[in-house]
């Protein structure tokens, strides 16, 4: 921008409200960046950071947005998903936020993105080693519902004392006959810290293990950042006689006939009609464009 005095500029050339690149000020970014570096050095450990108030309410991804803002550069291509979908309110709002404040390119295609911010899913398409997956995290502390005191949970992590979590999983088995935890299923990272993978379905847990992408987690209200470096061992907690298992679906996706993917239930009418479709909209759309048709799908050429 030129150094022309503002008073002499014609009104039409007055800029709209402008923000620093990616909204946050530079000191805040440095503080978050230092936390990210320590989080990477101690995989699974929750690094406290001075989360800022963001122009969106808590619970809408303020932690993820701050982590994304701190790592984002002008060359990045950003994808934002909410429960696997690119077109839901949260995803659209955050994508728009960074289009406006950072003017970065955005995409819905998983393979094209360099930074993917996600709420509660890991994309079905395998991630690559040049990608950063940023999770929005509501409650970062896996032991929080078992031990409410932060001073105590901090000690339990320091001592690697995770018996409490195994008791919780055991009580699941005692009550239900199987481990009934289906989302935010606790994992052990690099053989040391037990970590909350955020409320992703346990279906996605195996994708975290040995993942070539860098995984960063941001919790805004709780003011914590944690990370899993690429190619790190991530083990879902279980028992020898009750090994960890993921959900299985009886039928393939009703729109694209995909199997081995996570499906959402969609109610069709008030007579019990329902269908199960891919939660990952980009994956489902890509398959439909390739000509895959599910039992309720419409062939791609007829759809237009």
């Amino acid at each position: 921008m030129s150094a022309q005095p503002i008073s002499s500029m014609p009104r039409s050339s007055m800029p709209d409200i402008t923000y620093n690149f990616a909204y946050l000020d530079e000191q805040t970014k440095r503080m978050i960046r230092r936390a990210i570096l320590k989080a990477i050095a101690v995989p699974g450990y929750q690094v406290p950071f001075a989360a800022r108030e963001m122009p969106m309410p808590y619970g809408w991804g303020t932690g993820g947005v701050q982590v994304t803002a701190a790592v984002l550069g002008p060359q990045d291509v950003l994808k934002v998903i909410d429960q696997g979908a690119d077109d839901t309110t949260n995803a659209v709002a955050i994508r728009g936020f960074f289009e406006k404040t950072a003017r970065v390119a955005t995409t819905t295609a998983t393979a094209e993105a360099t930074v993917i911010q996600t709420r509660h899913r890991i994309p079905e398409t395998a991630l690559n080693e040049n990608q950063i997956l940023v999770y929005q995290v509501p409650i970062p502390e896996p032991l929080r519902f078992l031990e409410p005191r932060e001073t105590e949970t901090r000690q339990l992590h320091a001592l690697a004392e995770y018996g409490l979590m195994h008791v919780k999983l055991y009580e699941d088995i005692a009550r239900h006959g199987h481990i009934a935890t289906t989302y935010a299923y606790p994992v052990e990272v690099a053989g040391r810290y037990v970590m909350d993978p955020s409320p992703i379905p346990k279906f996605d847990n195996p994708k975290m293990d040995d993942c070539p992408a860098l995984q960063l987690f941001g919790a805004g209200r709780e003011k914590r950042i944690y990370a899993i470096p690429p190619h790190t061992r991530v083990r879902s907690l279980d028992f020898e006689d009750h090994p960890f298992k993921v959900q299985h679906f009886a039928k393939p996706c009703a729109l694209c006939a995909a199997t081995g993917v996570y499906l959402d239930e969609v109610i069709l009418d008030d007579k019990g009609g329902r269908m199960f479709v891919c939660s990952d909209t980009d994956y489902c759309n890509t398959r439909q464009a390739q000509g895959h048709v599910g039992e309720l799908g419409v062939p791609a050429e007829d759809a237009a």
Binding site: K29, R33, A35, G73, P229, H231
Partner: protein, 202 residues
Amino acid sequence: MSHPAAAAALSAGFDDPVFDAQASFRAAMWALARPGRVERLDARLEPPAPLSREAAALALALCDYETPIWLDAPLAAAPAVGAFLRFHAGAPIVVDPGAARFALIADPRGVIDFTAFPQGSPDYPDASVTLILQVEYFGKSGLVLEGPGIQGTDGFDAAPLPADFRARMAANRALFPRGVDLLLAGAGGVAGLPRSVIVKEG
């Protein structure tokens, strides 16, 4: 600018503080996320000797008034280095290594024991120092690295390093999750050796 000391103190920082800091951070982030893999670091700045461009870029990208910096003897002996860091980063320069959040080391061969720096506590392992060591060479053989961020094992080498480097890194790994994290900067790049890495003889 008539005073020679003032002119030296004002050697230029980043061309573009926002994007140069972001690029330098991203290089450091990937370096620590993939230990031993050298990330390119195009440092467009002219720090006063003996501070290298790559080390200066990391310092300006990561340090500010919240992060006391410790300088090793060759850097501390050059008043322009301290002035450069105070002016561009606003970071306090400390003499006590135990008070540092970052340490800049121009001569890794003569660096003091890593345990003199903050190692973090069992409750807060993140409250530890990040060491920035200036190196002149990176290679792929000599040391073998293993740990988070590395698929199997990976060969690595850098020079100069302390003579007892492997023993230091073994002692550092034994402290995990406490310990110090290393960024090796030089030769147009940066490599990371976080505390999680296991360093073996190649």
